[in-house]
């Protein structure tokens, strides 16, 4: 490109600055879309790139398209992407480990080759200077576009409209799930629960009334052993559960004895600490056996809510 052409093609310095700054950001956004592991972050990078492209559209006199780019593309389409991401699982970050042998090399070669070829091609093409859209946009960008759209391109416009309709119907059809079996009635669900042998009434409340009224402390069963199911599964797996220690058990026993003495009755003598410890140890594996390995989501969440 010789200096004369450059001079003819030259535009305002402001636009050049804008181009270099925003262009860099757009490329970074594009790279981010490709390279960032988390899909949500990728989507955000892409949205950023799109907004910058919208800026470029505006700078190039495509006011209507610039707005459409922001409103429809960035606003609607990208949100659709995000919705689907949420549906599919937002937390899962892609592993960057390549599973296909040689794919990464081949892809790099292809992309690089394609890029070099494109840039070489552009370099060889005689790209002229901007004519500018002043004349075309004289009556406003939107009326000018509308005139073209409804005269010269009216058939394509109608066809595109049909395409959109078909796409909408198609998407509805694709995602529509046909129920193939009869839905279960309430009675059937109840019978199923009973048959499965799950705990039907509410779980026992944690803590011991009057003394240890806290969710991180298991309630005691009538024989003095702690009820494992009374504390939240989450707390237990976090290790935030408070043991009903032997000392406390002893003091509890002493309290009971005192009460008994106060009432003048013989107290039920029991080994204050050792039996209950054993009971805890005995109860735990049974609990673990009762609870399926993958846990029961519904009850866990209930407990979590309770914990909160």
């Amino acid at each position: 490109m010789n200096p004369t052409q450059l001079a003819v093609a030259a535009t305002s310095t402001g636009e050049a600055v804008q181009f270099w700054v925003l262009g860099t950001v757009a490329v970074l956004g594009g790279l981010g879309t490709v390279l960032i592991r988390r899909a949500v972050h990728s989507a955000l990078c892409l949205a950023g790139t799109m907004i910058i492209l919208a800026m470029f559209y505006l700078a190039n006199g495509a006011y209507f398209l610039g707005v459409v780019q922001i409103v429809v593309y960035t606003g609607a389409v990208m949100m659709l992407f995000l919705f689907v991401l949420m549906l599919v699982g937002v937390s899962a970050a892609d592993s960057l480990k390549e599973t296909l042998k040689g794919q990464r090399w081949l892809a790099a070669c292809c992309a690089l080759g394609l890029g070099i070829l494109l840039i070489t091609g552009i370099g060889q093409a005689s790209v002229g200077s901007f004519t500018g859209l002043g004349a075309a946009n004289a009556g406003g960008n939107v009326p000018a576009l509308a005139e073209l759209l409804f005269t010269k391109y009216v058939v394509a416009f109608e066809v595109i409209g049909a395409l959109l309709t078909v796409a909408a119907v198609g998407a509805t059809l694709l995602t529509h799930r046909e129920r193939v079996e009869k839905s279960k009635s309430q009675r059937e669900q109840a019978e199923e629960r009973v048959r499965a042998g799950k705990q039907l009434p509410p779980l026992p409340a944690p803590g011991v009334y009057a003394r240890h009224n806290a969710v991180d402390r298991p309630g005691l069963l009538p024989d003095g052993t702690p009820a494992e199911s009374s504390v939240s599964h989450t707390l237990r797996s976090r290790g935030q559960i408070r043991e009903v220690s032997a000392e406390q058990m002893a003091s509890l026993a002493a309290l009971e004895q005192r009460t008994a003495e106060y009432h003048g009755q013989p107290s039920p003598r029991r080994g204050p600490a050792e039996p209950s410890r054993r009971a805890i140890e005995r109860a735990r594996p049974q609990d673990a056996g009762e609870e399926p390995a993958d846990g029961d989501g519904g009850r866990d969440s209930e407990r979590e809510e309770a914990a909160k």
Partner: protein, 648 residues
């Protein structure tokens, strides 16, 4: 008139179609329908014959074009008929004898549950045979040629439950294939030489073709004739063909189909006239077969096989005559017609004897039957006198002419051929007398027990000893069987004289076959005298051997020639040793080559491609991204190509 020609073929063809497709509903009346249609064909033939007689000699040929069969540019095959004197002769013989044999079969096949099918096959044969002799081109003739081969195959193997019959049918079919291939090649050669295979252009232009080509065509036609007419070296099937029902033997393997070779050679006379080498080959084949068949006929104890040897020998006469060229064509056909009469009569007589004897075919189990079967005896006897050439009967005239023509060939060849023909006449007299004496004279031998002796372990026990049937009670056959025999006997007595009278037959055929008088080195009277002498010698020898002495019920071991003749002069052994063994070895080596070389190459190629595909297959790994890479790579290559093109 011309349109009637199609009816000739059409009537029996219709009969065959109706009878073979008609199902069991026709079981009761099917044989009458078949006979009626054969008779209708004969009546039409007779009408055409008298119409033909009313016209001048050169104007008698009729043509009937039915439709264009294969109309291709430069290649034209028509379904068209040509009815000239030669064809007319055959039409009358085929339909006449055919009708008689249909009538005979009504009685003969009375107890066979597949009689309807039998008559269907007979009608099919008649249609094919008429097509053969009526065709106006060699391609249509070939259709008829194959048709009679098919009918012959079906009828020989009619009792297919007998392994021997099934094998005989297959053998006849296979041997005939060799001859058929010859005919096909002859037709190919005709087309390349003359650009056509219709009779008219081929025969008219035969003089223009080179002798080499004519010889080639002639030899191929001779091969075809050898196959169909059971001539050496393709004669081995005829003896076995006697496994078929006797009417079939009479009609197909004596009177009509086996003479198709003679028809073929006579019809293509113009080709042979231009190829002396081919003619010589024809003559040699005829002379050799003449003796061959006669010798085989002397040794056979099976009455039908003895007659089959005789047929072979008599056709040898015809082929010999046909090979002599225009001198002999008319005589060949004349002998063919008289032979058709007396040989059909003889076979029907043999069938009648078998019918009365519980299907026993061994002549050593016959004897003295003249008392029991007077009609059969008289008709058979007349046929016998006709075939040995008893003066005044038909065989005398026709055979005498052939012997005379053979001498007329001239030079050493003439003497040799004439001598062979004379010798054949003597042997004919010998073996036919033998058949006659063993069957109708002498003591009654069917009661004597016979078991395989250590001397002759190959002797089959008699049917009565085998316990298959009770002891036979010889009896005369019903009228439906004897009447055809009587008619044929009349024919065999009178035909020769009628034909000879004023050379009417020769004059009749002359427009088609041409005729020139031979120039025998000795006068006709001498030849006739010699023939009669030969006849007397033959009859005398047979009487000395079989008439004077009682005939042993178990055949004696016999000398080397007799034993060889019993085995058809080792024809089958020769075929087995040369063709079967050689063929087996050739086939084995070909199989080996096929397995190792051809299959190796093919399988190797396949394995190579299989391996390559197995590797290429991995490209299709199902991962969309891999496909996407190839897509982008392709796009990059396209862009590169575009840029390169612009740069250049």
């Amino acid at each position: 008139m011309e349109s009637l020609i199609g009816v000739l073929v059409g009537a029996p063809l219709l009969g065959a179609a109706v009878l073979l497709c008609g199902g069991k509903a026709l079981d009761r009346a099917g044989h009458w329908l078949g006979t009626l249609l054969a008779a209708a064909s004969f009546v039409v033939g007779a009408v055409l014959f008298f119409g033909m007689l009313g016209r001048a000699g050169d104007d008698r040929a009729m043509h009937s074009h039915l439709w264009s069969w294969i109309p291709v540019d430069g290649f034209r095959a028509d379904v068209a008929f040509q009815l000239d004197q030669l064809s007319m002769t055959f039409v009358l013989l085929i339909t006449g004898v055919g009708t008689l044999i249909h009538v005979y079969s009504i009685g003969y096949m009375e107890h066979d549950e597949r009689r309807r099918r039998f008559f269907g096959y007979l009608n099919l044969f008649l249609a094919a045979m008429l097509l053969l002799v009526l065709a106006d081109n060699f391609l249509l003739l070939y259709v008829g040629w194959e048709g009679v081969g098919l009918a012959s195959y079906l009828l020989i193997g009619f009792w297919q439950h007998k392994p021997s019959a099934a094998t005989a049918a297959k053998k006849a079919f296979l041997v005939n294939r060799v001859g058929d291939a010859g005919l096909a090649i002859a037709i190919f050669l005709m087309f390349t030489t003359f650009g056509s295979f219709a009779f008219a252009p081929v025969l008219a232009n035969a003089g223009d073709a080179s002798e080499g080509k004519l010889t080639a065509i002639g030899l191929m036609l001779l091969l075809a004739a050898c196959g169909k007419s059971a001539q050496v070296p393709l004669q081995s099937w005829l003896g076995d063909a006697m496994e078929g029902p006797t009417p079939v033997s009479a009609l197909i393997h004596a009177a009509t189909m086996v003479t198709a070779g003679v028809y073929l050679i006579t019809r293509s006379g113009a080709i042979f006239n231009g190829a002396p080498d081919a003619q010589l080959a024809v003559v040699v084949v005829g002379a050799v077969t003449l003796l061959f068949g006669a010798i085989v006929g002397c040794a056979k104890d099976d009455i039908k096989k003895a007659l089959a040897g005789s047929t072979m020998s008599q056709i040898g006469y015809m082929i010999l005559a046909a090979g002599l060229g225009p001198v002999g064509y008319a005589f060949a056909i004349m002998h063919l017609v008289t032979h058709g009469f007396f040989k059909a009569g003889l076979f029907l007589g043999a069938g009648s004897v078998m019918h009365g004897m519980n299907d026993e075919v061994d002549m050593r189990r016959y004897g003295g039957l003249r008392k029991y079967m007077p009609v059969t005896f008289v008709t058979f006897g007349l046929g016998y006198l006709a075939i040995i050439g008893f003066p005044g009967l038909s065989g005398f005239f026709s055979k005498d002419q052939i012997i005379e023509a053979a001498f007329g060939k001239g030079g050493t060849q003439g003497w040799i051929l004439g001598g062979v023909a004379l010798l054949g006449a003597a042997i004919t007299a010998y073996y036919m007398t033998r058949v006659m004496i063993m069957t109708f004279f002498g003591e009654e031998r069917w009661r004597t027990e016979r078991t395989p002796s250590p001397d002759r372990p190959d002797v089959e026990p008699a049917a009565s000893v085998r316990g298959e049937h009770a002891e036979p009670h010889p009896h005369e056959s019903p009228g439906v069987m004897t009447i055809p025999m009587i008619v044929l006997a009349i024919g065999s007595v009178a035909a020769g004289a009628v034909f000879k009278l004023g050379d009417s037959f020769v004059n009749w055929l002359e427009p088609v076959t041409q005729f020139e008088h031979g120039h025998p080195p000795v006068s006709a009277t001498v030849v006739t005298t010699a023939t009669i002498v030969a006849l007397v010698i033959g009859v005398g020898a047979a009487w000395l051997q079989y008439g004077r002495r009682p005939v042993p019920a178990v055949a004696p071991r016999g000398n080397l020639l007799t034993r060889a003749a019993r085995r058809d002069l080792l024809q089958d052994d020769f075929n087995h040793a040369v063709l079967v063994t050689g063929g087996t070895h050739l086939t084995r080596s070909l199989v080996y080559t096929d397995n190792k070389v051809v299959d190796g190459a093919v399988n190797g190629t396949a394995a190579a491609f299989g391996g390559l595909s197995g590797r290429l297959r991995r490209v299709q790994n199902g991962f969309a991204r891999t496909y996407a890479v190839s897509m982008f790579g392709g796009a990059a290559v396209l862009i590169a190509a575009t840029l390169l093109m612009r740069a250049v």
